[in-house]
Symmetry: C2
Subunit: 193 residues, 2 copies
């Protein structure tokens, strides 16, 4: 087991959770193995099941953990007058090459081929991101506009981090920000029928 830690249940649980988060973000639900996750936490595979019951329950714990954290959609950001600009800046920064801070989306995207994982992701995305964003939008069609905003966030993540399309992955962040801002602006501003 890990050197620094000896027989600390809470710390072990956290270590497994953190390792699972990294592995799921990198390889998706199916791609990440319990043994690999355990090794990343400095324990054996069985500890995963001891602490979380099963791999599926582990994923649910990871996703719940992530959703509890602040995100692009914090209240502070949602109420700011320059929300579009903030959102563009955060999205570009967060999806830069070599980093995976927005694990929530990434895990779900990588895991979406697994039926069960997709379901867990959909519930969490809808409950946290989509509901919050919809509530923050004024005007008609707020649910659809919120959905499209999330779709764009997801798409940028996919192309920059999963596919690694060079034109986006290696683009000048300022350029991307300037291109994305008016798009966000367009979806954020009230739509009256």
């Amino acid at each position: 087991m890990a050197e620094g830690r000896r027989r600390d249940a809470a710390a072990t649980r956290s270590a497994i959770l953190a390792s699972a988060r990294r592995s799921f973000a990198r390889s998706g639900y199916d791609g990440a193995g319990v043994r690999e996750i355990a090794e990343g936490a400095g324990v054996t595979a069985m500890m995963v099941n001891r602490y979380f019951g099963s791999k599926e329950r582990l994923l649910a714990a990871v996703v719940a953990d992530i959703m509890a954290e602040p995100s692009i959609l914090t209240a502070a950001n949602l109420e700011a007058p320059d929300f579009a600009a903030r959102m563009a800046a955060i999205l570009v920064d967060i999806t830069r090459a070599g980093t995976t801070p927005l694990d929530g989306f990434l895990i779900m995207l990588h895991s979406a081929s697994s039926e069960r994982a997709a379901e867990i992701g959909r519930e969490q995305i809808e409950a946290h991101y989509h509901r919050t964003l919809t509530a923050a939008l004024d005007g008609d069609l707020s649910a659809e506009r919120a959905g499209l905003l999330l779709a764009i966030v997801a798409g940028v993540q996919v192309m920059r981090q999963m596919i690694g399309l060079p034109a986006l992955a290696h683009a000048d962040p300022d350029v991307l920000r300037e291109l994305l801002e008016p798009i966000f602006e367009q979806l954020l501003k009230p739509k009256d029928s």
Copy 2:
């Protein structure tokens, strides 16, 4: 083996290719099994390897086959004056619930957790979609704008077909079209510095 066909190499090859396309689109590269693909083609698993060498080579064949087909980015569409509207309409129609006509993106998205599959997908996307679209755009930053367009296409696919976010999956197609069109317009129109 299949009833209607008896000992026809070309037909068997096509059947395997078509079945693989369905399976890869549904479950991704890792999720789809060779036995399942073979069964969908009415043959045994070994035929897959006999005809395509390996599962990886089969994926490459499927992707190449898909890329050779006409897509949103046909020359006719690219040159049309109302390209943004066309693109929005096609995207919405193509990602409606229950259908998976744009297998190319979908397979790649579902398979992106597999390192090798992501590489195959990136090459094909860049060579076909991104290059074509970039060339069709006037003005500055055409590569970045093309990349963002593809990102939005990917994002809408992800949210509607993979995640199945209800607000998008069950939305009125006309509403989505109207929301997407100005966004595409914005990225398509020349950007001069």
